[in-house]
Amino acid sequence: MARVTFTDNLQQHVDCPPADAHGATVREVLERVFAGNPRLRGYILDDQGALRKHMNIYVDDDLLRDRSGLSDPVGPDAKIYVMQALSGG
């Protein structure tokens, strides 16, 4: 199971404690998290389902590469960090 952690700054808008979910890609993991917390989706993904412009996702130490497809692979014990970028403030 991957562990997904969200930036503190998101907590003030929508409740999003760390979540554990299965999935082979970032998309799969996140969709499982959103299934239990549907409002969260729109805070992270845009109208086309891509990562929002000023958000970053790290899979372990690596910055997400496929920002529109979210197809980056996720290992069995991956740590996924959903962070806000420093731009866009």
């Binding site: 700054n9 845009d46 109208d47």
Partner: protein, 370 residues
């Protein structure tokens, strides 16, 4: 007369009330949050606020108890963008335009006979309608599918956007929409078909041969007179225009002092000949003329204008009033306007005299009586 003012700013929504001691900030809603647009709906008392979180996208909130509490409602969302479509609609400088809600630039209530109907103008260029107080939204497809839409260009912003929606109080299916840059679009069937062929509006930023094409116009803001909805006032990028036939023909008001440039316009609710503007030096400069903040008012349909400055800063003042930052109440006597640099002024006598309500607010995006 209205005793409450809402000011939506880059850093919170300020509720300002008139008590015995005069006007005072009563409460800050959404403190430190960016609010691009606010609508007090006079039909049912609901309040709507569009928050533009830099990172987390645009979120709509509604209050049904005058602001005591707010609930997040659904945001307008663009439909799935067809594969390859991004090659077809680009900014003039070549960037593909994504079908994604970037900004709520206008919120307007539908007619009195259509409770719960809302209109929402957005960037990039989408006009949305809700029939259930924001529970669901629908993109207006006749406008979106118009071949002209792919020629829309940004005005002020990089992306084209919709900033004015005027619903005819006598006919809810008659809606006049202002788009930067796509001119004035008018529907008389509730949005099923659109007319974008008004005459007389002039742009000075295109080759002379194209100056009068309506689709290239940059109206900064449209105001419709409730008492005579055929009268429309437009503060445009390079001038002031007025129509007395519902937007079919436009007359340019030339030579208005101190300037014909500005962003905001409001019209007296009962007198179609009375309107107010907040002028600035023309486009490239965008500062109050001579560093003096003034409001201009006409009472004769634009033949003459009076410059109103009592109570406003007249030396080294660089406040700019954006499109939605000037409002008039339902009596036509009380006015309020706010600035990009956080000042707010109110008048109780049609602009003859102004009082400073605040000088240190965040940049102001929208002020509304209600």
């Amino acid at each position: 007369m209205s005793k409450k003012i809402w000011a939506a700013t880059r850093k919170g929504v300020f509720e300002i009330v008139r008590g015995k001691g005069g006007w005072a900030i009563r409460k800050v809603h959404f403190p430190a949050q960016n609010c691009s647009m606010l609508l007090p709906d006079r039909r049912d008392g609901a309040l709507y606020a569009a928050l533009g979180h830099g990172h987390f996208g645009v979120k709509l909130h509604r209050s049904d108890n005058g602001g005591k509490s707010w609930t997040e409602i659904t945001s307008p969302a663009y439909p799935k963008q067809p594969e390859g479509e991004d090659a077809e609609w680009k900014t003039y400088f070549g960037t593909a335009i994504r079908w994604n809600l970037e900004l709520v630039w206008e919120l307007a209530a539908g007619g009195a006979d259509e409770p719960g109907v809302l209109w929402c103008g957005t960037l990039p260029g989408g006009l949305f309608r809700s029939k259930d107080r924001g529970k669901t939204w629908e993109l207006n497809m006749p406008m979106w599918n118009s071949p002209r839409r792919k020629k829309w260009m940004g005005g002020g912003m990089d992306l084209p956007g919709i900033h004015s929606v005027c619903v005819n109080p006598n006919d809810s299916k008659h809606v006049t929409v202002g788009i930067s840059c796509a001119g004035v679009w008018i529907t008389k069937d509730g949005g099923k078909s659109w007319d974008n062929d008004g005459k007389g509006m002039r742009g000075d930023y295109v080759p002379p041969e194209q100056a009068y094409l309506m689709q290239g116009q940059d109206p900064h803001r449209i105001a419709q007179c409730p008492a005579d909805p055929n009268v429309l006032w437009v503060q445009h990028h390079n001038g002031i225009f007025r129509s007395t036939d519902g937007g079919a023909n436009w007359t340019e008001l030339k030579g208005v002092k101190p300037s014909v440039f500005g962003f905001a316009v409001v019209v007296h609710p009962k007198d179609p000949k009375t309107a107010w503007f907040v002028p600035a030096e023309k486009d490239e400069r965008r500062v109050p003329v001579k560093g003096q903040v003034v409001v201009t008012r006409t009472r004769d349909g634009g033949k003459t204008f009076k410059t109103l400055r009592k109570g406003l800063p007249q030396k080294h003042a660089y406040d700019i009033c954006f499109r939605h930052c000037l409002d008039v109440d339902e009596t036509g006597d009380r006015l309020v306007f706010g600035s990009t640099t956080g000042s707010l002024w109110v008048s109780e006598n049609q602009g003859d005299r102004w009082k400073t309500l605040a000088e240190h607010l965040p940049p102001i995006y929208c002020v509304r009586f209600g």
